[in-house]
Symmetry: C4
Subunit: 233 residues, 4 copies
């Protein structure tokens, strides 16, 4: 039996949540999960519809883009996942969707403003939108460069990937991550909901202002700070 | 057997309606129900996903924020519930959600205008949006102060909590209440629908005018007045 | 056994379609169906939630607002239904909802423009929005006057109730009718969809123009004209 | 047994996907599939609700609009399908819907701009919106002329029907096609999603710019080019 059985199952289940949570249609999107000890990650095969996806279709890759186990071709976005795993050594899962509102903000090339406590419960910053990739990078290894594009954006904006677990790629769509694949999918759903709320907020009040810093801090700290009191111990 | 068995079940069932009515995702939101005779209220535990929630997870608290029964930590918003129960002695249930359209109006910091009879069937006033909490209050007991913020807003606007059973907290989201937990949840759903209709109304006609007073009175009276003739006797 | 058994069942089934078609929540809305030979109509009882509604709860009324059979109070809008049945002798069913987009146009006090063939397949005119009721009429028999308000609007705009089977009451919501209750409900769903499409159309292009007359005529005639060729013979 | 049994079943299943994918209500829409060897196509009967549709209701027609097999009248749009099959000899299926966002763009008489990679994964051009039909054509054979209208629009804009498998008819709605009926329905769903995303994009940023050519090319090529690497081999 495959030594990656559990990793594949976990990755499979996280992928299957994407259509259940209305984040993808057809073959859109992909989720991966890493096993740091074995130096590999499991990822959705390319172009397989979710209703046909099986645990054994999940592909195991190493961080140098080699297929370690699997008979299908991995997601066309595999190099982006590999790049992020290699550079952010503490993340355990990555999700990519084309969810409606997140893509719309990406197409509008706008950061999603932190308008309220629903946002601040998850991150203090605006959700960053990376500018579209420069032409000379597109001509190189596109999916690899998408990973680089994400890191460059975080560096430029001075963001921490531990706190901000989501990004929009301009004119493309969202990538999210977390301690495992399930958390990465959770962040994709949260991002979609925050993107929808921010859109409606701006339609109601085009001059809507960001949440003030004292409330951002309060909500983020009560959930994620040293003295957090949200959730169970 | 716990003397709070029935209270817990009623509170549990009201909480489970939130995801069924599309008012929450994941662990968002919480509902409580009070037992005035016993001087306690039942409330959702903090950070527990609805699909895992069980009747016995419901926590029993008194009005001074002590846990009377339960092994889980109560909702992080418990002090807000306690404050309202202590001050409004005739309410029986409270609901808090992060529903999409209600939150968007809260983030826009706008009262939801009374644009029609759907609104007037439930309340005559605009749905109030309390301004974001002052910084010196945030630094104190935040959730306790949220309760105070609600009462201050009602006092300032001259509103009755018996007639207006809902409020938006600026940049945060809605709280609703009623004679019991089920009614509080009902008011959360009504608020979300009124918020959605008002949003679309303003997109169609940015100069849309409030329902005129004669119609506000007529619709509210036929449902809630001394000579009401809506519903069964 | 009641001589109205079949009429009640037909009315019941049409009412139950309202929540199934996402046109109502809770106790909103009501549908009636007439039996011209017996001089009565069946209508939903007032304030009964759809999930509790039973065939035997349906109330039988005559055109003078007397209850002929039934133990529940009829819908608070019963006099509006009675007024329409009395004045439009060829209609067989009436539906009233508070569906989201139709109500929003009513609250915006705007006719829904005929923007395309989806609209023209059902009616050639814009969907009329009657102005809010005059104060001296509200003080009289409100629901009776709502019926009068509908007829006045049709007369003023020169519309035929045979061709235009729907109206918006300003700041209130839609009424629709048809040859039977099922058709009235069908018209409520069509109205909601046309209202949603017209809303989005205007957001994309605020200067969007009405469908030109030659196309209005073509689409209406191919479905409803003397030489119609839509549907089965 | 009918020699068209398999063709009818395939056409039936594609039609039944329209309501499942939320692209139609009631009797809206129709899908056809061609058998080039036999010189016929199968199409939905006119005005039959999807919940009543049966495999044997599907009508078989030749390219000259004669019914070859079937007891029902074929879709009122049959001549449009026939015209396209006759002129585009490499397409295998056609779908027509009145889906909400696609119809709204058609009513706004606007091409759907290529705003991002979700769009570019499927086509490089904007989704064309043909101008409403000229009056002298409406008076002729309307549905036949709709086919001509589609070809004229493609010729005028210099588009390839192999690459751009979808069109909006101004003030009417979408037609899509593909190698078979299933692919045509897929394109209808993709069009609806692209239309929704483009709508929201413009609401967030009315000055949103098209995806740049280098990214359009990259995304289209990786999925459809000679060296494509999306999907399984």
């Amino acid at each position: 039996m495959s030594q990656y059985k559990e990793l594949k199952r976990s990755c499979y289940e996280a992928n299957m949540k994407l259509p259940q949570l209305d984040l993808v249609i057809y073959t859109f999107g992909n989720v991966s999960e890493v096993d740091r000890d074995k130096g590999v990650f499991a990822i959705k095969p390319s172009g397989v519809p979710y209703e046909l996806l099986k645990v054994d279709d999940i592909v195991i890759c190493d961080f140098e883009d080699n297929i370690v186990e699997g008979v299908k071709r991995p997601s066309s976005d595999t190099k982006t996942h590999g790049y992020l795993y290699k550079n952010w050594k503490d993340i355990g899962g990555i999700a990519h969707t084309h969810s409606t509102y997140a893509v719309s903000w990406a197409q509008a090339q706008r950061d999603v403003p932190n308008f309220g406590t629903t946002h601040a419960d998850h991150l203090t910053a605006d959700i960053p939108c990376a500018p579209p990739m420069a032409d000379h990078l597109i001509e190189q290894d596109y999916e690899y460069m998408t990973g680089k594009q994400i890191l460059d954006c975080f560096e430029e904006k001075g963001l921490s990937h531990q706190e901000v677990q989501m990004i929009l790629i301009g004119n493309h769509g969202p990538f999210t991550w977390g301690k495992d694949a399930e958390k990465a999918v959770y962040n994709s759903k949260i991002l979609e909901e925050l993107a929808k709320m921010a859109y409606i907020t701006l339609q109601i009040n085009p001059q809507a202002e960001r949440l003030k810093n004292s409330l951002i801090k309060k909500h983020y700290e009560r959930k994620h700070g040293a003295n957090s009191y949200y959730g169970q111990v």
